[in-house]
């Protein structure tokens, strides 16, 4: 059964048709063509599909689109404002925290979810926040360094 759902994505209202079984990740990618959100396992382990759902970082392959009806979603495309990179994006670039780029949007959104809470996180908290995001290229060290640096000049 298809249903029309409405969401606020990256601050803009969207509506579209979703089957009851359509995953939020597929709705964002195929329906709204926001392809920055990636799929790597579809069992909630790799985290490449992480988005913010009402302010919380979630894996969008674990959510049905209809569950998010009326809610607010932020994807990686929503981080940069007025063509200016978000401090997290700048910091990932500067710290060489990206190789193939496939896990990157999910990493950024998990980090964004953590930093949005407002406190300056410890290294342990940073690791905890991205422990559900797998990266096969970088070995994580530069990603942790990037998030640590971004936390210093982060404004929500």
């Amino acid at each position: 059964m298809a249903k029309t759902i409405s969401l606020i994505v990256n601050g803009k209202p969207y509506s579209g048709e979703a089957e009851s079984r359509t995953l939020l990740a597929h709705f964002l990618r195929d329906g709204l063509r926001l392809t920055g959100t990636h799929l790597g396992c579809v069992v909630g382990r790799c985290g490449a599909c992480t988005v913010l759902w009402n302010g919380r970082a979630v894996k969008s392959c674990m959510v049905f689109a209809v569950q998010a009806d009326g809610d607010e979603i932020v994807t990686v495309e929503g981080l940069a404002q007025d063509k200016r990179l978000h401090p997290l994006q700048e910091s990932f670039w500067k710290n060489d925290a990206v190789e193939c780029g496939y896990c990157t949007p999910g990493m950024l959104m998990s980090a964004y979810g953590l930093l949005s809470k407002g406190n300056k996180p410890t290294e342990e908290q940073i690791k905890r926040a991205i422990s559900g995001n797998l990266c096969r290229c970088t070995g994580y060290g530069n990603i942790v360094a990037a998030i640590k640096e971004a936390a210093l000049n982060f404004t929500k």
Partner: protein, 792 residues
């Protein structure tokens, strides 16, 4: 070689490509959706070895949104099989896009559904019923060699599909005369690469042009193009393969797959774009697997620890439709590793089984060799009561012996093994570590120190196989910006940045004004896939050659305009000027205008325009063996010394890596930042291989670890404290002095961590011969060792 290594070569320049990745603007195959695209899902075998008796696809054809269903038999009438294997040592088999009469591994595709979307395609897959006549599953490679074992490929005649033999004269005498012989059976377990982006393909047939475009998450676009042409009997010139952004490969995407050959056929047949993105479960079951070699290996030594010789028998599990033999040959050629051992014998057998096809994986074959050798060295050290560093230092090939011809004919370009080991021991504080270990043991803490020095043969080339050369075409546009068309695609290696660094250094065109195009067979010159860490050994030098040709052309034009010989000219700050009188100068832009629009001012016989192609042939390669069967099939030899420190919790079996210290030498680095990041990731992948990851098969051939829930990749939580340093011994065979850099990291953890854990558990006499070192395996080993001790 005379070569000016000018900035920005060698600088930690930020990657060009990162900006699009952090903003979600990367473009991977799954991000493409041409209008009218249909989606594919595969019916896959639910058993490991069976004859297909019948298949009923009628119900599936009637399902909503289904456009077509094809069985393997139907496809075989229209698509030629790919002939794979076929070296002098490897038997040839035919690879059809879908299984025809028989399935040979769990998950093999045997029918395909095309539907309006993926959800509907998968619904229809569930409606296909298949009747199988079960055959005995051939799972254990040693049992597969026995007479009477079921045969995977009847037309090959048996399960031994590959044989290689090499022996030096008098090897048996060396073993008879030795003071000590250590002998072991060691197995490297089966793992897979697991890039976070699974495979993904999109084929679009254009009826008007009778042409075909294939977007593939491949690491080998030019070869793929030829193979599609072969199986479809379609002109190669009308096929364009595009590898857009590719989300990692680590070897697994360099080979051609069954599904990859089928999609172009479907698109031509149905007249619509056809897309398939692999699920993770499919990737674990169908993506190429790696490692899985059993070695019966022995080493002869003198009492003082001098290594005299090695004898080895390798039994390699190739899986079902084996495609390459590099894994076995690389292991067989490099079992003597970094040591001065000139007596060696090996018998290597490749065995076909009912497991997923074996293929490329970061460190293919070389990781098996270095793991098993470095384990054996520790076992020998224990037998001789020698320190693991001392026995290595005693036997390393000395720095002044390079280029060094090893016993199988490999020519190692350069290295400073003693220095790397010594420096690693300094960083680790080795002497202090040993004292600390003794104190901790008194407190009941099982701390272990593991030593290894791993060497990674990189940039392979073999006749009719891969990697003989790479190429870059370089164009300076009339606007003054430059474009480089690279023969090799990238999957995270940073070519867009490093190629631009090289071209900027040669031509004076600013780094920001250089764009690198790769992965598209239409504009790029021919070349082989991104694997064997050959980018830095052949691709980057080809960019350097292109840069040099362009530089010569710019200087030639300036020479005529300034009336100064080219040798006395220099490029800098957008000008070409006389070295002895910098006021005698001409703007680079003026030279560009001359090349395109004022060609009457060009030197005599110079072609107009600014476009050149640089080729670089893989150096230091033998394509045929000498009379003793010796040859060099890899061109450069990076290495890393490692000391790993671990604590083992004997109650839980958990291993904590306290510190991982390593000194890496990959020669000159074009961009040290890129090397370091890649090396860290490579080490982490090796930690996963040593401690967590394993493809496990049941006796019936079912793959038991086919999701990320049961095949565990290391996460950030498993990241150890890492002390990483480089030493630089330039490669004398390439103009940039670089060796391969992508794989050495992955080789270190398996031997270093196993050596460390065995060292930690030495008070309990635990011996490690099987991996990965999961907590349950550690507890099991401790229990067995205790039972053995109790029974005297």
């Amino acid at each position: 070689m005379d070569f000016p290594i000018n900035a920005p070569i060698g600088e930690r320049v930020r990657r060009k490509e990162t900006e699009r990745f952090v903003t979600g603007r990367g473009r991977y195959v799954d991000d493409l959706l041409p209008p009218g695209t249909l989606h594919v899902s595969f019916v896959r075998s639910t058993c490991a070895h069976a004859r297909i008796q019948s298949m009923d696809v009628d119900a599936a054809r009637a399902m909503p949104g289904v456009r077509a269903v094809f069985t393997g038999k139907e496809i075989a009438q229209h698509v030629k099989p790919l002939r794979v294997g076929g070296s002098s040592m490897l038997r040839t088999v035919k690879l059809y896009p879908l299984a025809v009469d028989k399935v040979r591994y769990f998950g093999e595709p045997l029918a395909v559904v095309v539907a309006d979307n993926r959800y509907l395609a998968e619904d229809a897959v569930d409606a296909v019923s298949v009747d199988y006549e079960l055959l005995p599953a051939v799972i254990d490679p040693e049992a597969a060699m026995e007479p009477g074992a079921a045969v995977v490929h009847e037309d090959v005649g048996g399960n031994i599909v590959y044989k290689y033999h090499f022996a030096t004269d008098g090897i048996d005498k060396v073993f008879q005369a030795a003071d000590v012989v250590v002998k072991e059976r060691i197995r490297s377990h089966r793992i897979t690469a697991c890039p976070i982006e699974p495979r993904a393909y999109l084929a679009q047939y254009n009826k008007e042009e009778d042409s075909l475009t294939m977007w593939s998450a491949t690491a080998n676009p030019h070869s793929l193009r030829g193979r599609i042409a072969e199986v479809l009997s379609f002109p190669e010139g009308k096929i364009r393969v595009i590898a857009p952004d590719v989300g990692g490969s680590f070897g697994v995407k360099i080979q051609t797959y069954q599904e990859e050959l089928l999609l172009p056929y479907l698109s031509r047949e149905l007249g619509r774009p056809i897309k398939w993105c692999e699920t993770r479960v499919e990737h674990m079951r169908n993506g190429r697997h790696g490692r899985d070699q059993i070695h019966y290996i022995e080493m002869a030594l003198t009492k003082d620890g001098t290594m005299l010789g090695i004898r080895d028998k390798i039994i390699a599990d190739m899986g079902s439709t084996y495609t390459v033999d590099h894994s076995i040959l690389a292991a067989a050629l490099y079992m003597t590793g970094v040591y001065q051992i000139q007596n060696y014998a090996v018998e290597a057998l490749g065995i076909s089984t009912n497991k997923t096809t074996h293929g490329s994986l970061r460190g293919i074959g070389k990781a098996d060799a270095s793991y098993i050798l470095e384990r054996l060295v520790d076992i020998a050290a224990l037998e001789l009561k020698m320190d693991p560093i001392d026995i290595r230092m005693k036997n390393f090939i000395p720095a002044d012996a390079f280029p060094y011809r090893n016993v199988t004919g490999a020519l190692y370009d350069s290295g400073q093994y003693h220095l790397a080991m010594k420096r690693t021991a300094e960083i680790a504080g080795y002497e202090h570590l040993r004292k600390e270990q003794a104190d901790l043991r008194k407190k009941g803490i099982y701390r272990g120190i593991g030593v290894a020095l791993v060497m990674e043969p990189t940039s392979s080339s073999r006749i009719h196989a891969t990697g003989g050369y790479a190429s870059c075409r370089l164009r300076i546009d009339p606007s003054g910006a430059a474009t480089v068309f690279s023969s090799m695609g990238e999957q995270g290696q940073g070519h867009e940045t490093t190629i631009a660094q090289i071209v900027a250094s040669q031509t004076g065109i600013p780094f920001d004004q250089i764009t690198v195009i790769h992965g598209d067979t239409l504009p790029t010159p021919y070349g082989f896939g991104t694997g064997s860490s050959r980018s830095s050994v052949v691709l980057m030098p080809s960019a350097w050659v292109a840069g040099k040709l362009m530089r010569d052309k710019i200087l030639g034009i300036a020479a005529r305009r300034l009336n100064v010989v080219p040798e006395k000219l220099e490029i800098g700050d957008g000008q070409v000027f006389a070295k002895e009188n910098s006021s005698q100068s001409i703007a680079v832009m003026e030279i560009i205008r001359t090349a395109y629009g004022a060609i009457h001012l060009l030197p005599e016989n110079m072609e107009p325009g600014l476009e050149v192609t640089g080729y670089f042939v893989n150096p230091n390669i033998d394509y045929t063996p000498d009379d003793k069967g010796r040859m060099n099939t890899f061109s450069s030899y990076p290495y890393a010394a490692v000391i790993a420190v671990v604590d083992v919790d004997v109650e839980t079996g958990m291993i904590n890596i306290v510190r991982y210290c390593t000194v890496h030498d990959c020669g000159n680095m074009i961009n040290p930042q890129i090397v370091e990041t890649q090396h860290q990731g490579s080490i982490m992948q090796g930690i996963g291989a040593a401690l967590f990851e394993e493809l496990r098969y049941g006796e019936d051939g079912q793959l038991l670890s086919s999701t990320f829930m049961d095949y565990r990749l290391p996460s950030v939580e498993e990241m150890p404290a890492l002390a990483l340093e480089h030493i630089v011994t330039p490669n004398p065979f390439t103009p940039l002095g670089a060796k391969g850099a992508g794989e050495t990291g992955m080789l270190g953890p398996p031997p270093a961590l196993c050596n460390a854990v065995e060292d930690a558990l030495s008070p309990l006499s635990v011996k490690i011969r099987e991996t990965p070192l999961t907590p349950d395996r550690i507890l099991d080993l401790i229990e067995k060792a205790q039972a053995k001790a109790a029974n005297g």
